[in-house]
């Protein structure tokens, strides 16, 4: 067990070569049994992953993206070692910790502390080491006296807190995280993210699997796009994400075209989900957004964003301006600035964002709108680069952003 961070940045800590995972689909368990006994197999094989190769160096953070069923979970389980590969090899260096599903494996009749020690022994933390780590874990999970109560009395959030504190008690060399970090309440979610970022700063390699381009952008230097079990693209985050998003948009456009006419019921079911309803820039007619970006008429940029929330939960909204080539200029989110959309009588939420005297130089810009949950960690919806506009600044000097300044 090498604690992370003692190796040099740049050493490969995870090398995957020609990895494949075949699921054998038998017509029935009886067929499965027969093949086990006779050795002759009648099955359809489904390759959830095929020919995946990559290398991760110490301190790297890679985001795995892909549609549902693209093989993300299989890849993570193979890397974590809970599944056996059908082809290829995985070389791991040091301690690998996987946060796949938290809280599983706790015995409900035992106390939290007891489960802590047992859970620790399952992930290679012996009794003595655990005794040393215990105070820190107890402090982190904030369970207090509940730690000496049976786990069956815990809320699901408490169990997850304990599990997260346990698996991250020791800094791993490779950390594998699956999907949304929906861990406990907002306060604890923040702690989790902070801890993961601290690991990263200490040189821990992170493999992060998510549907959310927002999180991948936030955390990862590299992205891996899996499509139908194969690596579609891998490289720097932004180009890979852009390619993936283009693919997703085409896919959803196709789906929409196919679904458009017949089923009004679908619209009703979609209506219950959180989504961005509209986002308009004052003075721009977004219908005509084609080759030529429309000109922003005034000096101010005023965006009116209307969203559908989830139940009564207060949603949050983010906004981003980029150059048309996809270089981010600035972004802002309501939950970090103490703002929040207001509820309208029809149940939707609206907020108006104004950037007075838009401090940009002349050029073509593109904007995106994001819808977050209350905590700001879950991205419910995003309109990525949905609107382009041209802006003519009242200055003639070259540049990108007009920074506050004074001469003296």
């Amino acid at each position: 067990m090498t604690p992370g961070g003692n190796g040099k940045r740049g050493d490969a800590v995870l090398a995957v070569q020609g990895l494949g995972k075949e699921y054998r689909l038998y017509a029935s368990p009886r067929e499965r049994f027969k093949s086990l006994v006779t050795g002759r197999a009648h099955y359809r094989s489904h390759w959830a992953l095929r020919d995946v190769s990559f290398q991760l160096r110490r301190g790297e953070c890679i985001g795995v993206i892909g549609d549902n069923g693209a093989g993300k979970s299989s890849l993570l389980k193979l890397l974590a070692g809970t599944l056996q590969p059908s082809a290829g090899t995985i070389e791991r260096v040091g301690r690998v910790t996987a946060i796949l599903e938290l809280g599983a494996g706790f015995h409900p009749d035992f106390t939290g502390r007891d489960n802590l020690y047992f859970g620790g022994s399952l992930i290679g933390i012996g009794h003595d080491e655990m005794a040393r780590l215990e105070p820190e874990i107890v402090a982190f999970c904030e369970l207090g006296e509940a730690l000496d109560r049976p786990v069956k009395t815990y809320s699901s959030g408490m169990a997850v807190r304990l599990a997260f504190a346990l698996v991250t008690a020791v800094q791993p060399d490779v950390l594998i995280i699956d999907e949304a970090l929906a861990v406990g309440d907002q306060h604890f979610q923040k702690k989790c993210v902070e801890r993961i970022q601290a690991f990263r700063d200490n040189g821990c390699t992170i493999l992060f699997c998510s549907h959310s381009p927002y999180h991948v952008r936030q955390l990862c230097d590299t992205a891996l796009w899996l499509h139908q079990g194969r690596v579609m693209e891998m490289g720097e985050t932004e180009p890979v994400l852009l390619a993936y998003e283009t693919h997703s948009r085409l896919l959803s456009a196709d789906a929409q075209a196919a679904d458009d006419a017949p089923v009004p019921v679908l619209a009703a079911s979609v209506a219950s989900e959180a989504a961005i309803v509209s986002a308009t820039v004052a003075g721009l007619d977004e219908e005509q957004v084609q080759e030529d970006a429309p000109l922003l008429p005034g000096p101010d940029l005023e965006v009116t964003i209307t969203v559908r929330g989830r139940g009564d939960e207060q949603p949050h909204v983010g906004f981003m301006i980029e150059q048309t080539r996809g270089v981010g200029i600035t972004s802002m989110v309501t939950h970090e600035e103490g703002a929040a959309p207001r509820r309208l009588p029809d149940g939707t939420w609206r907020i108006v964002l104004t950037l007075p005297e838009l401090p940009l130089h002349s050029g073509d810009y593109v904007v995106s709108v994001y819808l977050f949950d209350h905590s700001g960690l879950v991205v419910y919806d995003q309109w990525h680069q949905f609107l382009r506009f041209r802006f003519v600044a009242p200055v003639r000097t070259p540049g990108l952003v007009r920074l506050p300044h004074h001469w003296s």
Binding site: S35, G81, T82, Q84, E101, P150
Partner: protein, 268 residues
């Protein structure tokens, strides 16, 4: 290459014995979590069964066996076979369901499945081992701690080994097809009549005695009876039968384990 599968797995279980021991203690503890009597419960049930046999057959009815039986008191005879049989059934059944029960744990932790079977069988052994020792002490007037008495130790060790192999084999089969659990459960409840537990071997029709040897417990029970009741070292046929059973089970297990290696966790 293939011959190594099972040996490798068991070697791993040995190298992780500290973890296995923690798991065993926990398994035993979990069976009585939330009860007042606590850790005694797993021991009390078999003990009370054994005590009931003794009371009913030897104290209340004083039933006697025929002349060529290893002992004459029926209860005493029954206990010598019943206790190892209960240990066997318990270990095999727990071993058989060990993987299916540990499914969610195995999906989330990179642990070799064999650990869970070993845990289940050992958790059973730490209950029945001491019970057997207790009975052995109570039988001191019969065996007088003669040489044969000490055969109990290798017998029990072989029984545990057989249960690990058989349990793991059945666990893999049960992972593939859950019906295995039902079939084995039924076989075990019938099996007691195909083992010389309720009757001395000599009372079984000579022409059909070979049927008894198709049962791995026949050899073990005969061994226990001769050690406990007479202090006699079990005959060579007992040891040979055990070795054959162990080798046979290991060979089949090896094939099945190799065939299922990649997919076992997917089935759970």
């Amino acid at each position: 290459m293939q011959m190594m599968t099972i040996a490798n797995e068991l070697r791993f279980a040995w190298s992780a014995r500290a973890l296995v021991w923690v798991m065993v203690r926990r398994e035993v503890a979990s069976r009585h979590a939330g009860t007042a009597v606590g850790v005694l419960w797993p021991y009390l049930q078999p003990l009370l069964t054994v005590a009931a046999y003794y009371l009913v057959f030897d104290v209340v009815f004083s039933m006697r066996l025929g002349a060529d039986a290893p002992t004459h008191a029926v209860g005493t005879f029954l206990v010598a076979g019943t206790l190892p049989w209960m240990a066997f059934c318990d270990a095999v059944q727990r071993g058989m369901t060990s993987l299916v029960d540990a499914g969610s744990l195995l999906h989330k932790n990179p642990l070799p499945p064999v650990l869970f079977t070993v845990r289940a069988v050992l958790a059973s052994a730490v209950v029945y081992g001491p019970l057997l020792a207790l009975v052995a002490l109570a039988y001191a007037p019969l065996h007088h701690f003669r040489l044969g008495f000490w055969a109990l130790f290798p017998l029990f060790a072989l029984q545990v080994a057989l249960c690990v192999l058989l349990g793991y084999l059945l666990a893999i089969l049960a992972a593939a097809l859950r019906d295995v659990v039902q079939v084995v459960g039924f076989s075990l409840s019938v099996g007691i009549y195909l083992t010389p537990i309720l009757f001395p071997l000599s009372m079984f029709p000579q022409a059909w005695r070979w049927v008894l040897w198709l049962n791995p417990m026949t050899a073990l029970v005969l061994g226990y009876q001769s050690a406990l009741l007479q202090g006699g070292w079990p005959s060579a046929s007992v040891w040979w039968a055990l070795v054959v059973w162990l080798v046979l089970t290991a060979a089949v297990l090896n094939v099945v384990a190799a065939r299922s290696r990649d997919q076992l966790v997917d089935w759970l």
